[in-house]
């Protein structure tokens, strides 16, 4: 569709500049192409290292639990980036060049997030991440702290559904993959993580980490919008009565409920499971999570399957299970696995 960008004095032929996907693409170009190396050069590591060295071990452990989740899940979503590009060409989605243009920027931003957290844990937090070179997939292993909580299962689940959706998946496969990737991992888990880092920064300010998070979260906000746009497109076709799209609403809701306990397990692991020395605030996170949940599934997607009591019921059931978990033993066991795989020369 040809459009005219009157305010900027140019016209396009095949690109629709009024498209929401074009807007996401353009914002990705304007704001998402920040340079990780320039960021660390500009802000520097000194203040972060000074703060890090002043922390007690239990405080470092709390930061390490949170950042391990980001380091591994950013890699998981980056590795699935190519599947996003494949998914955009699905015959079940409206075909347009703006979607594919956006997907290329999307994939690039996820790679930069991997780069940022990899640099950070190996430069500032090295004493708590002595080993971090294994690939989370391809026979490797997640970082021991990621493997000890729900974040590892979340990453594996996301990878499986993304592969199914990209490999000729039907509308329900695409909906399930988009729900776990964009709403579960990026919409609730990551934003819950930002809430916790905000609280922890008040007690232990790490300026470079905070700046990195600010850029990462701005990129991730676009990715959540992408997920909501995609799911709304599928829901519109279901509501219009197209037979192949029936069941999309139900699948989105099912996946939301499956994903939530894994996110809450991780939040509990980072906070109350270690007596919350930096005040990450698990109860506050639950309240924020409930707001995000309602904003995504009810206010934006208007799911018919939405049950207003499901969030708190699911959280409560999950918390009852977490209280009996021995997370320290799980970290120790996964450290042994990690070391063994390194010795075996796993990539």
């Amino acid at each position: 569709m040809a459009t005219q960008k009157e305010t900027q004095g140019f016209e396009t032929g095949r690109i629709d500049t009024d498209s929401k996907w074009y807007e996401l693409y353009q914002k990705g170009i304007e704001l998402g192409t920040w340079d990780v190396e320039k960021l660390v050069d500009k802000v520097g590591f000194k203040d972060d290292l000074d703060t890090w060295r002043s922390l007690e071990d239990e405080e470092k452990e709390q930061w390490a639990r949170l950042i391990a989740a980001f380091a591994d899940l950013e890699q998981a979503v980056a590795e699935d980036g190519r599947r996003i590009i494949e998914q955009m060409s699905s015959p079940y989605l409206d075909d347009n060049i703006e979607k594919e243009m956006y997907a290329t920027v999307f994939t690039m931003t996820e790679a930069k997030h991997v780069q940022f957290f990899d640099i950070y844990i190996n430069t500032v937090m090295k004493d708590f991440f002595p080993q971090s070179s294994l690939d989370i997939r391809r026979g490797g292993h997640p970082l021991p702290r990621t493997a000890a909580c729900g974040m590892s299962d979340l990453g594996e689940r996301q990878g499986a559904f993304m592969a199914a959706a990209a490999d000729g998946g039907d509308p329900k496969d695409i909906a399930r993959a988009a729900t776990i990737y964009h709403l579960g991992v990026e919409g609730v888990a990551a934003r819950g993580g930002y809430y916790m880092k905000n609280q922890m920064m008040s007690e232990a300010p790490l300026p470079l980490l905070n700046k990195g998070f600010q850029f990462v979260s701005t990129d991730e906000g676009r990715h959540v919008t992408h997920g909501l746009e995609l799911l709304n497109e599928l829901l519109e076709k279901e509501r219009a009565g197209h037979p192949e799209y029936q069941g999309v609403d139900q699948v989105i809701w099912e996946e939301a409920l499956e994903t939530l306990p894994l996110v809450m397990d991780t939040a509990y692991f980072v906070s109350d499971a270690i007596d919350d020395p930096l005040g990450a605030d698990f109860n506050g996170l639950i309240q924020r999570g409930a707001e995000l949940w309602r904003a995504q599934y009810l206010e934006t997607l208007e799911l018919e399957s939405y049950d207003p009591n499901a969030f708190m019921d699911t959280v409560q059931e999950a918390v009852d299970r977490f209280e009996d978990k021995d997370y320290d033993a799980l970290i120790e066991r996964n450290e042994e696995i990690y070391s063994r795989k390194l010795q075996e020369g796993v990539a």
Binding site: K27, E30, L31, W34, D35, K38, L39, K42, G187, R191, Y194, Y195, K197, N198, Q199, M201, S202, P205, P207, N210, K211, F213, Q214, F215, V216, S217, T218, E220, G221, R222, V224, T225, L228, R288, E291, L292, R294, A295, Q296, E299, T300
Partner: protein, 85 residues
């Protein structure tokens, strides 16, 4: 309202202070005030409209005395930094 980003208890700076910060950012980056405001609004509201970007907002602005922890000013600072890197 110089920025269309809803309301929040964390918004402690005055509208005049926000407008001045936008004008200064426009001068520093060589862009129009409208272009800076559009980018800052994207930083703050990307995702779901009902939820501001907590990666930038709230206590995320800790220790930045220039912004007095107002997330709008923090987002303007982030926009300027983006132009540098």
């Amino acid at each position: 309202m110089p920025l269309d980003v809803g309301d929040s208890d964390d918004f402690i700076a005055s509208e005049d202070e926000i407008q001045q910060a936008l004008e200064e950012a426009a001068e520093e980056t060589g862009e129009t005030v409208e272009a800076v405001a559009e980018g800052v609004e994207h930083i703050m509201t990307s995702g779901t409209g009902a939820a501001t970007n907590e990666g930038v907002a709230g206590a995320g602005a800790v220790d930045n005395e220039d912004t007095e922890s107002d997330p709008r000013l923090e987002a303007i600072e982030l926009y300027k930094l983006r132009r540098e890197i």
